[in-house]
Amino acid sequence: MKPLNSTERFSLGRLFDARLLPLLITLALFLLMFGYGSVAYRGFFSLQVFLNLFIDNAFLLIVAVGMTFVVISGGIDLSVGGVVAVTTMISATLIQNHHLSLWVVTPLVLGMGALFGAFQGVLIQYFRLQPFIVTLGGLFLTRGLCFLINIESITITDPVYTSLAEYRFAIFGCFVSANVVIALVVFAVAIWLAHYSTFGRVIYAIGGNERSAMLMGLPVARTKVLVYTLSGFCAALGGVTFTFYMLSGYGLHAQGMELDALAATVIGGTLLTGGVGYITGTLFGVMILGVIQTLITFDGTLSSWWTRIAIGALLCIFCVMQRLLERHSTGKKRDSIGHQKGVKAAPPARQPEAASLGPNLTLEQPHGV
């Protein structure tokens, strides 16, 4: 824990442009890739191809927005892919096999997603567990629940559901699906939440320095639980839109989506150490993932696995870039290992408590093999 002194505050202010840099690079990269596609492939440069990016990635955008909040707060949520899958599964089962109305099922699954997120948040906040391991357990749990409900894929043929899923809004002779509208509403609300609400500011403060935020009297515990609740809600909403998109529920849906959402967040310029991030950046991160897929589809000779390799490579470039910026802004070039997040947050929080625990706990247990 290091208090912000005046010189550091000054340097942070000076480096505001540097922190915006990843966002600008992301934007430039998106334009470059879209431009390349337009030149290289016939029929690429059209409004519909651009809108298809939204149509095919609406659910990812929603999930990634939730993930962005978690990452800004300094955590991580690996359970989102599982939550999406279990949402498609529950929706499909209730609608198809139990003939419940769409208007009953959707609020129900959204509530379940939020509740599950809150459960993870409570474990993380009040039991001081690592977000990584808790949400990993969440991933296991949700994926397992899918297969407990049904091993097969359930196709939805309910007329109300399909008509809503196939509804198209016309824009300048082109069209978007209802999913896009939902995603854009989520996006707008997220921008307001992140940049114009108290809740958002507390999240940034927690991500910057949790202990300082606590000492400032900010509601850290409540906000952290709420952040995971929000992420669970977004994942469930992503699951609802995914059900619209696929018109089926299946336990293997959205496999690896947590990685895609995380990649979109990072590529969008959100720092994985927390405290810095932009919802708009996440939008462009999602768009870049979409453009990679579209480019590979238009090319036709490249196989689908190049998508993953390209995403991995981009992720690598952006992480290294973040790291360099971070070193630049903190001015510390030496202790790269020591400058990880866990190191920054964990020891000061734990040691004073350990001292009061009694003689046997102050000593770390010897590393028995």
Binding site: F140, L315, K341
Partner: protein
């Protein structure tokens, strides 16, 4: 604690035993085994057929070996307060490398089946291990020299790795037709599966390194405080790099075992979710995710617990899909009981009890 040792006797020794870090994992393993015994009276039976030992216990040992290898490699990584989430992908890459290099065709020469591999088997094995090592070095470089968070650094390979594995196998499931290669994953040596000896060798090597050199101390020191250990003269970066490299190597070895056992390599599904199982095994064994304390034997027990759990869900008729849910519940329970909050509660209980006496 002092009070109890003063009163002395069996109670204190029993209490000390119960506080041993390996007590809970062992208890869990024994309980699981007994549960199996309750459902299947022949569970502990081991029979010797044609000089090979067969039985449920041997089966669990054999099937747990790839996971045990990965988890053993992961243990030092977690001890340095890191994590390697790419091991599943590395398993897939290594399996793909071995399968593509060996490939093999079956020819029938004069009515006798003969097998030919594309390249000598030793070369293929070395290449697969080399690829694993390379992946580990890549992760280690990102963590130690670029200074990324371990989760993120290894996430890159986790995302790209399956793509690379599919690139190697051209998106196909590559089947291996080369008899000698199957020995690795399915062969027997002195009556026991060969894979078990591999695990024992890796465990032995790690044990020796940790106990008879200062490496164990260094790793623990890095886990407790990387900066301070650097000031104390430990080459934190080099050791971190080596730890990740070893993790990649052992994942590569696990990839060999898996591809040899199923006689094929599937870029998409080989080692799927294995990183999670490995982390779970390490945690179950009493290694703290906060770093600074680890137990190799504990990891081995953790891997056995997970395999026994899988075996149990199959044998008592729970649908295999429930396996994931059971694992999730285990993760939550283990984490919550290991958490500082619960530990503090337990300590307080014990203190009030002892104070009251």
């Amino acid at each position: 604690m002092n009070q109890t040792s003063n009163t002395g006797g069996m109670r204190a020794r029993g209490a000390a035993l119960a506080r041993h870090p390996l007590f809970l994992p062992l208890l869990a393993l024994v309980a699981l085994l007994l549960l199996n015994r309750a459902f299947n009276p022949h569970f502990f039976q081991i029979v010797n057929q044609d000089g090979h030992w067969f039985g449920s216990l041997i089966d669990i040992l054999n099937r747990a070996s790839p996971l045990a290898l990965v988890a053993l490699g992961m243990t030092p990584v977690i001890a340095t307060r890191g994590v390697d989430v790419s091991v599943g992908a590395v398993v897939a890459i290594s399996a793909a490398t071995a399968a593509v290099l060996i490939g093999g065709q079956m020819h029938i020469v004069n009515g006798v089946e003969t097998y030919a591999s594309n390249v000598p088997m030793s070369v293929a094995i070395l290449a697969a291990l080399g690829v694993g090592l390379l992946c580990g070095l890549w992760n280690g470089t990102l963590v130690a020299w670029v200074g990324m968070q371990p989760i993120i650094a290894t996430l890159i390979l986790m995302v790209a790795g399956r793509g690379i594995a599919q690139l190697l196998t051209a998106g196909q499931i590559v089947t291996i037709y080369y008899q000698p290669y199957f020995y690795l994953g399915a062969g027997y040596l002195f009556g026991l599966p060969f894979a078990v000896y591999l695990v024992a060798a890796v465990l032995g090597l790690l044990w020796w390194l940790m106990k008879h050199t200062a490496l164990g101390l260094f790793i623990t020191a890095i886990g407790i405080n990387p900066v301070a250990s650097g000031f104390a003269g430990i080459k934190a970066r080099t050791i971190t790099l080596c730890v990740y490299a070893f993790c990649g190597l052992s994942a590569g070895l696990a990839g060999l075992l898996i591809s040899s056992n199923v006689k094929s390599a599937d870029g998409n599904n080989a080692g799927l979710l294995m990183e999670l199982d490995a982390i779970l095994a390490v945690t179950l064994g009493g290694t703290s995710l906060g770093g600074g304390h680890f137990s190799l034997i504990g990891t081995l027990i953790g891997a056995l617990i997970i395999q026994t759990l899988t075996y149990t869900t199959y044998s008592i008729g729970v649908p295999p899909e429930a396996n994931l849910v059971v694992k999730a519940i285990v993760v939550f329970v283990v984490c919550v009981t290991q958490s500082d909050v619960v530990k503090k509660l337990v300590i307080r209980e014990r203190m009030t009890l002892e104070g009251g006496r």
